[in-house]
Symmetry: C2
Subunit: 388 residues, 2 copies
């Protein structure tokens, strides 16, 4: 069965766009933020809670699920949606990023990557083809092609090698995806008929290589395109510049996905440059470390100054945590090491991200995006250092 | 202000009773199970979730809250209800049990107990009077008197000493409680006007000393009475025998609270012997260890046999976990160490306990309690060994 992918542009305001993404398990209003459910679960919150917060799509990690419980086991359950009990869309990454950041004894060649599991040291191989097969078994709505993830800063020769190999892998990955779609590999379970596949543009902070990567990836042809290889340590202005430069060359009638970014102001600035989809561990990971996002910027709930502060995290916030609990209680739970500190903080941070995206969509529809952006950035204090 | 305590008997079936307990923050249908929120939070679940499960009262631990964040700080927040964001009734224990089980370098004399905090080693003192003051500041609906908690098995002389000292402490604790009620210690904040105080019967497994303890505690006079010093290692039949013997002597027009018990069949057997109130860490603690309660008995979700089991924990269960998730997913989350394994397991176990109590109340009202009891015990397999 062919992809059920579709994308309708609803409104635009400058380069910022508001759209509706149609996927096998439902629609997603864009710009959208995807909470990260690394191991088939968004850490510290339940599927009921993610639904209540209004998330329309979540991301899950192919690397983790392939190693445990295994994509075969998940396919026998009917796919990741049935396994997780989540009925809305899922995007899976290709597994490449985790191989480069988590796995040990990694060797990469033209064929693919051989690595050892961070769980038990067992040897595994991932190729452009097997990344497609694994994600077919998982049955995500959107599968990502396998790309090579370079470190930053990169030497020019490294950037060249990464871009060119990623393009060859794009061709192989797309061929495999189309072959599965036409049923020529009946031994590979496809848990979600109508899955889409997104290509990934690399090229680091070099505009020339970004251009080459865009052209080559478009020539292969995917349902949509992602920008990879950013948020890896480069200055934020460089990132914004590369995002603007790259997004501008991607087709206007397809969603553009900026992988692994970022802080709330990064999302806003990237929407302003034409990005439609985001994922990031910041709201969930930082919640577990006691960092809470507000319209004034992040705050650390463990600070002693909150010990007797009876106000909610943000008096204007309508999340379930702010509806019921004070800073004093949340600070106490965090300091005492209570498990639901992580839950309550995660609910707040995810709500903040999802609600900010809702406000951004409304602003684009009403043609007031620039005003919203200016007001947001005037209020929001970005920490001088990378977020904990 | 005098206590707002009240208790109406709604129905009886043999020794089993169905009632309505009226407390400062609302009513509680009995027999009732109180989820344990040791540190002012039921571990791994939110206050929203506890409400949704239908809990009408929770228990919180005086020892833990006194040490951190401190009852003074909680009183300045307006009491534990405001601090936790929980609007329904709360019962606080006296702190005695934790001093005997957690604190180090404990010395006990007639005046009270001096102990060192398990958190930082700081020296603290708890007396029958200070236990009242601390719980007044916490503002629970029900405060428990300070008792001495003996070990099991106990020598006859130890049982005698415990019972007699506990009776002297009962008098002192009640005097202090009544003095606070009449406003003669205005320096002690009373966060909940209308708080009630329960006495505690000791006496181990010796019926003679139980009788003496009942008579002495009734002579002091409390809003209601608890049976302490059971579920400490004695054989289950001995516990049932002592429960029956003791409950029978407690006033019929007051609720009877069996402290710290127990497994689901223990609750049923104790209701059959006239008990109205329970608390126990089993459903919450065992959930975090992967043990799930069902009508057939407990199951260990980590077992490999559940790896590909697509059924819910209990197909007949209407809890949020069973509504959405399979044994396969829950087993995977537990094995992977995902935090929400604890949450989903806790939701199921608390629902099972609360729902069993609902069924018990219905059966008593309809005069079918014995039939329900027989059917439950025929299906329910109690593990041969104490639950993990």
């Amino acid at each position: 069965m062919p992809t059920r992918f579709g994308f309708d542009l609803v409104a635009a305001d400058g380069a910022a766009r508001c759209g509706r993404l149609r996927l096998a398990h439902g629609d997603v209003d864009t710009p959208a933020f995807m909470p990260v459910g690394t191991r088939g679960a968004v850490r510290a919150v339940t599927v009921d809670e993610i639904e209540s917060l209004g998330a329309e799509i979540v991301l899950a990690n192919t690397y983790h699920l392939h190693l445990r419980p295994g994509d075969d086991l998940i396919a026998r359950r009917g796919g990741l949606h049935a396994f997780m009990g989540w009925t809305r869309p899922i995007l899976t990454d290709s597994g490449g990023y985790q191989i480069f950041s988590l796995a040990t004894r990694r060797t990469l060649d033209e064929h693919g990557v051989v690595f050892r599991s961070h769980l038990d040291g067992a040897e595994h191989q991932l190729t452009p083809e097997s990344a497609v097969d694994i994600q077919a078994r998982l049955g995500s709505d959107v599968a990502m092609m396998l790309d090579e993830c370079p470190s930053w800063p990169a030497e020019p020769e490294e950037t060249e090698a990464v871009v060119l190999r990623t393009l060859r892998w794009a061709r192989r990955g797309r061929d495999r995806f189309l072959a599965l779609e036409t049923g020529s590999h009946a031994d590979v379970a496809r848990s979600t008929p109508g899955q889409a596949q997104f290509g990934i543009v690399q090229g680091g902070t070099d505009k020339g290589w970004r251009d080459r990567s865009v052209a080559g990836t478009l020539a292969v042809g995917f349902e949509a395109y992602a920008i990879g290889g950013l948020s890896v340590g480069e200055p934020v202005d460089t990132m914004y510049d590369i995002v603007a430069h790259t997004a501008d060359q991607l087709p206007a009638d397809r969603p553009r996905y900026l992988m692994g970014t970022g802080a709330p102001d990064d999302l806003l600035e990237s929407v302003a440059r034409g990005i439609d989809l985001f994922d990031c561990v910041l709201p969930t990971r930082n919640a577990r470390n006691g960092q809470l996002f507000t319209r004034s910027g992040p705050m650390s709930i463990k600070n002693a100054q909150y010990a007797e502060d009876d106000r909610p995290i943000d008096p204007a916030c309508r999340c379930p945590t702010c509806a019921r609990h004070s800073r004093a209680y949340l600070r106490y739970l965090f300091v005492a090491g209570e498990m639901n500190a992580a839950t309550l903080n995660t609910l707040h941070n995810l709500y903040f991200y999802l609600d900010t995206m809702r406000e951004i969509r409304e602003a684009i529809k009403f043609g007031t995006f620039e005003k919203f952006r200016k007001a947001f950035l005037e209020t929001y204090s970005r920490p001088a250092h990378p977020l904990a």
